[in-house]
């Protein structure tokens, strides 16, 4: 085993890229613009419409997130979690896109119309 590329390496690279492309197509090309926001945290699921501008607070796992719905986009305005990845994630609007705040255990996901949740889980 040394520094030279072998056949198996190329197969692995191809498999990783192929897996990424297939998963990407499965998750993000199912309808384009979403029209609802599904917020899930601590066994709760709440659905918000993207039609109306809105902002609300989430308290979960001892952390506090401020979520804003604006012009059909969703973003986390501020959060007091240690990594702030959710705030850095920016705005999401397309169906299937998501923002996850791991320390708070919150997932924000854009959903399309009349799509059943189980379909995505399967």
């Amino acid at each position: 085993m040394n520094g030279k590329l072998k056949t198996g390496d190329l197969i692995i690279f191809a498999a990783v890229i192929l897996g990424a492309v297939i998963l990407f197509l499965c998750f993000f090309f199912r309808g384009g613009e979403g029209n609802s926001l599904v917020v899930s945290y601590s066994d709760r699921k709440e659905v918000y419409s993207l039609e109306d501008d809105d902002s609300f607070d989430i308290d979960s796992n001892g952390y506090h997130l401020k979520v804003v719905i604006e012009d059909g986009c969703v973003y986390v305005k501020n959060a007091d979690c240690p990594d702030n990845t959710c705030v850095h994630s920016g705005k999401i609007s397309g169906e299937g896109q998501l923002i996850a705040c791991v320390p708070a255990g919150v997932v924000l996901r854009i959903d399309g119309e009349e799509k059943s949740y189980d379909f995505i889980a399967g």
Partner: protein, 168 residues
């Protein structure tokens, strides 16, 4: 016999220290500002685990991986980051075994990329279980792309360092 055991113990300790330092370096690097995705890391610590797996022993590599994850979580992390890292670490360790089984057809580039991809998969599995939200797998495509990039990076480092081990 005794000197061999001492050598093995010393190498393990050295590699665990290396893994810890590399984990720390990753927490300091502001990667999350450039790539705002949870769980995307360079996986530099896997360099130490891979070296241990192939040049000391697979069993010791598992110990180093688990110790590194536990100690890193204690020092710089939190409870949830521990479970993601643990799941990712175990998946990546399985990748090392796959690399050992198919070593005739693989170099450290392929093995590192495979470990990085499996690490991402393991993190997604843990995240989807903890957050009970299957949509987490939506992160996997972009994580796989980065695992190719960072897997090649760690692969280069491993290959550079193997020369030291061959002379040891």
């Amino acid at each position: 016999m005794t000197s061999l055991r001492v050598k093995r113990l010393s190498l393990d300790a050295l590699l665990l220290a290396l893994a810890m330092i590399l984990s720390y370096v990753e927490t300091v690097l502001p990667l999350s500002f450039i790539i705002p995705l949870p769980g995307v890391k360079m996986g530099l610590a896997n360099v130490a685990v891979t070296l241990c797996f192939f040049f000391v022993s697979p069993v010791d590599a598992f110990g180093i991986s688990i110790l590194r994850i536990s100690l890193t979580a204690l020092l710089f992390g939190n409870v949830s980051s521990f479970f993601f890292a643990l799941s990712g670490g175990i998946f990546a360790y399985l990748g090392l075994w796959a690399g050992k089984l198919f070593y005739k057809w693989l170099s450290f580039y392929g093995i590192s990329v495979m470990c990085a991809a499996l690490h991402g998969l393991g993190q997604c599995v843990a995240a989807s279980v903890i957050l009970s939200e299957a949509a987490i797998f939506g992160y996997l495509p972009i994580m796989l792309v980065f695992s190719l990039l960072f897997g090649l990076l760690t692969g280069v480092i491993v290959i550079r360092l193997t020369r030291l081990f061959k002379n040891a």
